[in-house]
Subunit: 164 residues, 2 copies
């Protein structure tokens, strides 16, 4: 049994573990930071996506974020009720609705940006400018290798809340 | 409104976002890899912790992993039912139980190690050996700065399953 034991590399020396540990740490931290604004990471992700390209259909949002279309209907309903988005008839597809940001969403997103900046600054605090650039470049390389779509957080599809 | 828009740094250029994106990716990947073995990340985390130091009390496990003591009782019950651990009277504290790994747990952990190795290798595939060492060192620095306990995944406390 000792042989099995000694062959175990401590998790703290595994890069995948470190990335996971830090990734959940920042995920929860960001969820907590968003809470006073009354939105969660899913709402934030949707608003950011629409901010980058307004007027996407529910289906497009669903495909990009890999959130099931049924769940997407509920998310859009919720954002609509809060006056953050509105559904308009899609100009090219009469059966579809295009989702558009309303002024309230721009105001809300403007409030989130300092939170994002603060989180980045706090995370990178132990590193000098050269190390920060190196870390970002290496993480980008790894993210590309892992086939992750830029700006799309996998937690939005599978959830990052407490396990049921 | 254009001024607000143009001030937004793309999420893919934010290190905290990249870390979160990759962290959830590896977290879900590892959860999927563990599934055929019939355990989830919480069970894995508990078994690894006992593997590092056998005979801890439920309270100690609860404190380290920050899993609520009530949830911890259920987790230990479950591991006990599967023949992976057993509760024994704690030698120093008659009111407490020490949790001990059974041979089945060592066999199971031996099967998880190749999964952990494979995940690390796959994640680091785009990097050369020098870059791998650099990434690990920088992530370690950042993890220490963030006050994370070595080897303790925050997802275990708050869950990494689908949002309810």
């Amino acid at each position: 049994m000792t042989e099995v034991d000694s062959s175990f590399v401590p998790l703290s020396e595994r890069t995948a573990f470190l990335v996971g540990q830090l990734g959940f740490h920042v995920g929860f931290q960001f969820t907590d930071a968003l809470a006073p604004l009354g939105i969660g990471p899913r709402q934030y992700g949707m608003l950011r996506l629409l901010h980058a390209r307004d007027g996407q259909t529910q289906q497009q949002l669903s495909d990009t974020l890999r959130i099931h279309r049924n769940a997407m209907v509920g998310l859009v309903d919720d954002l609509e009720k809060r006056g953050l988005v509105e559904r308009r008839r899609h100009p090219a597809d009469r059966r579809a609705y295009a989702i558009h940001l309303l002024p309230g969403a721009y105001e809300l997103l403007a409030k989130t940006e300092p939170l994002v900046e603060k989180q980045d600054a706090s995370l990178l605090e132990p590193l000098d400018p050269g190390e920060r650039a190196t870390l970002r470049a290496l993480l980008n390389k790894v993210a590309v290798g892992a086939g992750l779509a830029p700006g799309v957080h996998p937690g939005l599809a599978r959830g990052m809340g407490p396990t049921c």
